[in-house]
Symmetry: C2
Amino acid sequence: MSKWRVLETTEIFKSGFFRVRTEKCELPDGRIMPRYYVMEFPDWVNVIAVTPEGMAIVVDQYRHAAGEVFLEIPGGSTDPRSKEDPLVAAERELLEETGYRAGRWIAIGSHSPNPATQQNRLHTFIAVDCVKVQQPQLDPYEDLVARLMPITELYERVDRGEVTHSLILASLALARSHLRKLFLIDGNPVGASF
Amino acid sequence: MSKWRVLETTEIFKSGFFRVRTEKCELPDGRIMPRYYVMEFPDWVNVIAVTPEGMAIVVDQYRHAAGEVFLEIPGGSTDPRSKEDPLVAAERELLEETGYRAGRWIAIGSHSPNPATQQNRLHTFIAVDCVKVQQPQLDPYEDLVARLMPITELYERVDRGEVTHSLILASLALARSHLRKLFLIDGNPVGASF
């Protein structure tokens, strides 16, 4: 199984850093895919932020495409104008959305939000020893409220199917084994170890 | 926190069942969002399929937007022409991609692949007592290979960050507590209980 060969590429739509292109491709066995849609977004970041008391900083956010409020964690887009480092974007988004700053950051990996339709990656961080240093400063069109929830409860909600934003679920799944090693979930709700 | 009011909607792109529209919206506090992009897709399905021996049926699939092969589980799109029921789509995708049919299906819930940009839902199913009944019959442009892997190993790979397709991770996160109750992971790798 190897890469498809791109025979033709056509940009069909562009708005800021969101672009859509179609590609005519040749598969490894010679089949021709006449028109594959690829969407281009900047990389995204998600932050599992925890206070010294073992509280996760969660965000209730209205998402207009689905028309509902979702239980989320802080996160957002890297800024492609400055080729923003994902860690810098994670620090910025945490501060802007919640007013918290972390004592320590752990990069736990990245995944592809939807590799069938888009090229970008989502980078997930665990932020520990978070303390509130200012009021949130939201982007003009963000409609969200930050609040605290025991990190153990957040994972109970995952298990009960109450976290219904796939990309949040994916980051929480990736973080699970790390949080266990940090003694933050599965038997030790208080982050006394760091 | 309540729904945004749509003041204007404009379809800007359409190809089959993939559509993009922009909406001018009024937020609950009176702010005006001039142009919010909404992508429309049919609902999707993912299947955690397990054999009587405790093997998960996984799929290695090339995803052209990301240009890589991903470790996935069977799944795909519902057919909007027939308003296809998600369970029927799940049975069909499992059979087409892997050649397996399940003895029992468990619907474990749905989530939103990306509620910031698209309206659709992803429905996740656990399929137990799966047996091979035919050869896979792939769609014209699918580039994938199905194989067996112990379900316990699949979750070890999740914990090691080796499952890097967010939507697959999300379905596996949602299934985790159900599989534990079915004695399929976390201490009992063989599905002897059903």
